[in-house]
Amino acid sequence: MSTFVSRMIHFVSCREASELLSQMQDRPLSPRERIRLRFHLAICDACTRFSRQLAFMRQAMRVYRT
């Protein structure tokens, strides 16, 4: 793995991943953020669940206001 790639995917903690997942609902992520996030999600079940739950909550709010 090139140092560039490894630097990009390193050090995305669950804390940071969860923040990015939330911000994704409010702004477009940068390509770098998207890649870091994707790598983290590939190895983290908890954040993957968190990601699905965020999407579900947005859907629930849509139902809430209809």
Partner: protein
């Protein structure tokens, strides 16, 4: 549908509209005013296409009335200063407890089974309502601006005079708190059942 039926149908949503408006404006009279304006506009206008539900349509009208009211309020007098500090200091301890020092989850999100099914249930929407009410007021207000009034980030920042970073932190906390509340009060008990 006769005009009378239509008026009655609109009237049924008054309570919901008032709750949304009050959360945003924090003022009973101002909330009642925008709701009244909304219902009048709905009654006189012919904007209802039948493509969306009546409530969605009314929410759309209400959104404009609320934004106008917020703008008027800001122009008239009180500068909005209170929101950002309140939003950023809420329950900091709870949030530190959310993650371990190495950044991993202290209590990882649990599997929710089939959440889609919950959306069909009236009781789930009641729990959602309850969880929204449990959010700190400033947090709930921002969250509702984003998710119910569907304002864009930059619009909210402008209305409330807060930075984008501040907004993202508030929305993040709202979502995390809402997620925990739904898990505790719906999905966990569903698993037990």
């Amino acid at each position: 549908m006769t005009a009378h039926d239509f008026a009655q149908e609109l009237e049924r949503h008054r309570g919901y509209l008032y709750r949304v408006a009050h959360l945003q404006l924090r003022d009973r009279d101002a909330a009642e005013d925008v709701v009244q304006d909304t219902l009048l506009a709905a009654l006189s206008g012919s904007g209802f296409s039948g493509k969306s539900s009546v409530r969605t349509w009314l929410t759309g009208i209400l959104k404009h009335k609320i934004v106008d009211a917020i703008r008027r309020k800001q122009r008239d007098a009180t500068p909005v200063t209170s929101l950002a500090p309140e939003g950023s200091e809420l329950e900091l301890d709870d949030f530190d407890a959310l993650f371990r020092d190495d950044g991993t989850w202290e209590a990882p999100p649990a599997a929710w089974g089939d959440p889609e099914e919950a959306l069909q249930r009236r009781e789930f929407l009641d729990v959602l309502d309850l969880c929204l009410e449990k959010l700190p007021a400033a947090t709930a207000r921002v969250f509702m601006m984003r998710e119910v009034l569907e304002l864009e980030s930059d619009e909210i920042c402008k209305e409330l005079a807060i930075t984008a970073n501040n907004l993202w932190v508030i929305l993040y906390r709202a979502r995390v708190a809402l997620r925990m509340c739904l898990e505790e009060n719906w999905f966990a008990s569903e698993r037990r059942a």
